[in-house]
Amino acid sequence: MNKKIFRSSFLTAFLVLITTIILILGILFQFFEQQIQTELESEANYLLQAVEKVGIDFFKGFDSHNNRVTFVRSDGKVIFDSEADTNNLDNHAEREEIKEAMENGKGMSIRYSTTLTEKTVNYAVRLSDNSVLRISRNQYTVVTILIGMLQPVLIVILIALVLTLILSSRVSKSIIEPINKIDLTNPENNDTYKELSPLLKKISEQKKTIEEQLTDAHKKQVEFNLITENMSEGFLVIDRDANLLTYNSAALRLLDITPPADGNVLVFCRTKEFRDVISKGLFGVKAESAMIRGERIYSLIANPVFENEKVIGAVVIILDITEREKRETLRREFTANVSHELKTPLTSISGFAELMKEGDVSEETVVDFSESIYNEAQRLITLVNDIIEISKLDGRKVNFKKETVNLYELAQEIISRLKDQAAKKNISLNLVGENTEVIGVRKILDDMLFNLCDNAIKYNKENGTVDIIINDTETGVSVIVRDSGIGIPAEHQDRVFERFYRVDKSHSKKVGGTGLGLAIVKHGAIYHNAKISLESTEGKGTTVTIHFDKSKEKK
């Protein structure tokens, strides 16, 4: 803009200058011509009078200055010429100015030289004797004057040019300056050309619109981030070339990516499952797959993103399904165990009953069989009772009455119940401690302690010991059941509290039990907000501690 203004103002000034010079020259020239003619006329008149008075002799010793004076007789013969020999001159009667003067008393003509650089102005007057006096003056033509004046004119033009340059540049700058100074951040607060105000107003309006849209977009982005950031599921958006576009921190955590994350998503995870899901997703098909990474199991879901029926990317969701898978495995094991535990006594019962049905059994054997059937049925009942009990505790639906229970007395009672069983293996039961009370459900506490002691005897060696220690400390009450039995191998210690979990996979009937004992202990402890810890060395014995926290108990 600056350039354009400068160029046009410069051109205008230059054109005006040239035109002015040409016009002035033309007018001046006209004026000079007029001047010369007047001068010639007055001089001719003066000479005329002199010649009339003095006659031809007047020309003797006559100085004509710059003018050429010619005296022509009425027949055209030149009798005097101030610059040429009269003998060499031809008859002048036919010359334009002389002819005119002879006819009208005066005449004028202008003759140009062959080169056009000079012109001669002739003025002739008729004397009373019909002879003619002519005065001529040479004058430069416009061209000559122009050529002669070229240098000063050029200098003038040059100076004018420089001046125009400087001025134009100043002018254009001063026009542009206010425009440059416009504060576009606040378009409406500018005091500038009023022609610009509609533009500024428009800019201001659009600025507002853009700001509003930006705030909107930002708000949406924040909302989106809030949602995705608070997802526990990993969330990835990839483009057609599998480059990462958006992700949430859960995705980074699950895929173990250290931010900043960009570029190809396969850089961060390239397992077969991940690759397959991504390529299917980008192919336009929804894909699902489970991926094992380290110790965790993830579920991957890829959904293609379409635009105009073309896949432009995919959204990948990553779910941590480790816990779910674990529970699923537990459930499967539980079902298998339950059916096994239920089937074993039923098979025996069915077998004995079948033999008895055949009828080929002696009285004695029938009694024997009946006892076995009775025992197995009892076992089934115990098992089903245990299952009912545990599901009650599990569901937490039951509202048992809580009361103050003396653990020491409870332990004594249990010992008396288990005395016979212990005596069979010659195991000594020792109770250490004093009267200690906790608030809880007697039935559940009884089950817990009974199961622990029962296990301590069942999994003990011949002549072993079982110590029941009841401790009342400031932090809470702990019941410790310690045996000198076979112990639990380290790899099973985490799992013995699971339902039907048996260290001895053969589910041997040798030791009996339903496999639910420790599960009942665990759920009872959870019901009472108590903590269980288990220490065991294979071959040396097991110690189970139940700690009732006093602070929690009061609630």
Binding site: D241, A242, L266, V267, R270, K272, R275
Partner: protein, 222 residues
């Protein structure tokens, strides 16, 4: 034009990552089959090898197309030329993994002591392959350098396995066929280690534009 070029380069990168991942899977499955005789692993390894062969041809075509159509220079040219070299190494890794799978059944029965060292070699090799692919994927020359260092461990283990074999033969081991197969397997692992090292070297080349320091190469040549 550049846009298309970038797209092709990114495609090349994706293909190479996929091929690398396939190599990892091939070797992991081969080792799994060797140790657990799990039929699924065997099939997976062979399937990976087939895919690797196909990928090699695809990537080769893509590289040649890139060179012909785009005339890459500087880093881009290094990327393409390193890719061309790398895929040969990756293809060899795939082949050797499936070779291990082929002879693995013959050694599965034998109770030769060196199997433990073979297992060590297998683990070290898997680690090398994984890390070399990782260094390529992340364009990380530091990981590449650790891969190169790691190769010494694999070489040492190979020497140990070899010594044990010799001792076994001298001690009158009567399972000669299994011994020879074990030596073969050990050699395959050692070769796979070398290929992983090569991949790491090409990563260093494509990142820095320099080949690995000549002193190291001299050592190897001597």
């Amino acid at each position: 034009m550049r846009n298309k070029f970038d797209k092709q380069l990114s495609q090349l990168n994706t293909e190479l990552i996929t091929m690398g991942a396939l190599c990892e899977e091939a070797i992991i499955n081969a080792v799994k089959y060797l140790t657990d005789s799990d039929e699924d692993s065997k099939n997976a390894c062979i399937a990976s090898d087939r895919q690797i062969d196909k990928k090699e041809r695809d990537i080769e075509t893509l590289c040649i197309k890139l060179i012909l159509q785009q005339q890459p220079v500087a880093k881009d040219l290094r990327t393409v030329s390193a890719a061309l070299k790398m895929i040969s190494d990756m293809e060899r890794i795939g082949d050797q993994a499936s070779d291990i799978v082929e002879i693995a059944p013959y050694v599965a029965e034998s109770e030769i002591e060196s199997r433990t060292h073979i297992k060590d070699m297998a683990d070290a090799t898997i680690k090398m392959v994984s890390e070399s692919i990782e260094s390529f994927v992340k364009k990380d020359k530091d990981i590449a350098y650790t891969v190169i260092e790691h190769d010494n461990l694999v070489d040492e283990l190979f020497d140990r396995v070899k010594d044990e074999m010799i001792k076994s033969i001298a001690g009158g081991c009567n399972d000669a066929e299994a011994l020879i197969d074990l030596v073969m397997i050990a050699k395959y692992f050692e070769r796979i280690g070398d290929h992983a090292e090569n991949i790491a070297e090409w990563v260093i080349y494509s990142v820095t534009g320099k080949h690995r320091k000549p002193s190291h190469i001299k050592e190897e040549d001597l």
